[in-house]
């Protein structure tokens, strides 16, 4: 009864799961990898977008980040201290990387007014739906939508302009990261829970791996103008230097 009315396309979801299983299988085979693939899109899809570092105003939206420990029993135990450390390392690294390229990121200021808070909250929720849609319908060629003709053509719509006005910014950078670390001797159990995870259909970061995406939205139009997916089984975001390496990969291809 639900499948027919759920807006999520179950078939597309199942294909994402296959990708997740394949990626995990690859990791279990023992290779060290970092995979990223960035795309540009929006109305500027034909001409590649390029920010002018000297005067582009980019607001960094609140990070969606969580670090967990996988216990021997296979439980994912979220770690508040790790997450807080990683959050500050990632923010520092983003700021450092961007200023290395001549760009100063603006910090998001939460509006005091409830209506505006609610609006920003809806924009963030829409962004995560759009991000998921881009992963399904753009990054997986078998789910391409014919009318898109292979272009990354998604937007948050005109409400984004209000966010831009409030934050005094032309662009917004959204970052999503999940990371987990294993305690000793978990590999066998990992295989089992990977299969379970893939059946349930939500990508869950496995031992010592990080998954994430970053996207740049043009707040004047709402268009997603740049998007990057990260998968990596090396780099430790609990420490400043490796966190910087993860951030480097995450913003590889950032149009500046």
């Amino acid at each position: 009864m639900l499948t027919a009315l759920s807006l999520q396309d179950s078939k597309c979801r199942s294909s994402l799961r296959v990708v997740a299983v394949l990626v995990t299988a690859f990791v279990l085979a023992g290779c060290t990898t970092t995979l990223t693939e960035s795309h540009t899109g929006g109305n500027a899809a034909d001409q590649s977008i390029k920010l002018n570092a000297a005067n582009a105003r980019v607001v960094l939206m609140p990070l969606d980040i969580q670090l967990s420990e996988l216990t021997a029993a296979g439980l994912e135990e979220p770690k508040a201290d790790w997450t807080e450390a990683a959050r500050s390392h990632v923010i520092d690294a983003l700021n450092a990387e961007m200023s290395g390229r001549g760009l100063t990121l603006r910090q998001y200021r939460k509006p005091k007014d409830r209506t505006r808070q609610r609006r920003d909250d809806q924009i963030e929720k829409l962004h995560s739906k759009v991000g998921g849609t881009i992963l399904v319908h753009h990054y997986s060629p078998m789910n391409w939508l014919p009318t898109k003709q292979g272009k990354m053509d998604w937007t948050l719509g005109s409400t984004a302009r209000q966010l831009g006005n409030d934050q005094n910014s032309e662009f917004a950078l959204f970052v999503f990261l999940r990371d987990s670390y294993a305690t000793g001797g978990r590999k066998a159990a990992m295989v089992a829970s990977t299969i379970v995870g893939s059946l349930i259909g939500t990508p869950v970061a496995k031992a010592g791996e990080r998954i994430g995406f970053a996207s740049l939205v043009d707040l004047r139009t709402g268009d997603v103008v740049w998007f990057n997916v990260l998968y990596s089984d090396s780099g430790d975001m609990r420490e400043p230097e490796p966190a910087r390496a993860v951030v480097n990969d995450l913003i590889a291809g950032f149009p500046i």
């Binding site: 439980l75 979220p78 379970v196 995870g197 939500t202």
Partner: protein
Amino acid sequence: MTRTNASVLAAALLLVGACTTTPPEPIADLKPGERPALGTDEAGLWMQMDRVEEKLSTSGRVVTDPALNNYVRTVTCRLSAEYCKDLRLYIVQTPHFNASMAPNGTMQVWTGTLLRVQNEAQLAYVLGHEMGHYIRRHSVQRWRSIRNKTDSMAFFTVTTRMAGLGFVGDLADLAAMASVMAFSRDHERESDDIGFDLMVKAGYAAEEAPKIWMALEAERDAAGAETPSVFFSSHPATDERLATLQARASAQAGRGNTGSKPYAAAIRRYRSAWLRDEVRKRDFEGTRIVLANLLEAGHPAGEIHYFEGELYRLRGDDGDMKQAIGSYRKALASKGAPAETHRALGLMYWKSNQPSLARKSFRAYLAAAPKAEDRAMVNSYIQQLK
């Protein structure tokens, strides 16, 4: 905790199996205003619950109405002024009896609970019980014992039972979250005691505490095995617990306030929407008990009979149309029948081939609700019936 995490957790636990038994370490009460130190497992649980809370707070299911929130909050603070500062209340629009407490002080009270408790004293007992879980830090104790695999099988059972109840969407998340909050019998006994002590200390009638239990058991028995209660899945009921509560209550009986009037006044504006959600559950026998209890508690007979009619109309078995008409007419003869009663009666008359009565009812509906959203449609019914 999301549904996925809970299921992965459960599945992982199943794979690992449960064998060893390490007794959990004793743990001190959480003091008012206390937060766990970063780097502890408890801080990790809090962080995860902070994230769940962030989602919950913007979910479309949370009732944001300030008057209702203030009321439930006031009762909470009456139980403990110190701890009430550490608790954040979320009234969640879900037609089942449940309340839950997360380790970080996120307290959920479902609207199905507010529809079922009959007075402020019963509500105070439920809230006090949940506060007990917070004060005694049952979540972190539970988490440690799951991690030590002491009772992982019990945990697994609760989680799968939850899934078996047919919950979907965020309801499943909420239920899964509640199931993570499912505590051992010892924890429940502790919370029973704390809840009872808090309500009595705040001046509420002790004898009301066991009544809510008994009403829930009656509803569960009427509903039959196909519709197990969410509440009992996460709060194991035992005769022993009820007996203890009854013994304690009778020793204190006749001293406190029931708070029936303020409670009835507090829920007056929401009752009808909650009843709408209730009849949608299609749990005919269970809902009939809820309606009977509301009638007994003195809520307007017109409204209660209207929803009784809705229950028959939605079931639609042989003879239910006649029963529905009977209930609607009873509603219109009593105080507090909503305008929709006329419309529902019109639909039933039309279907049972009584066009002139149907037309009369539809006219009465438009007269009672001149700004009705579906005015155009009902006008077209009247045209067709000419």
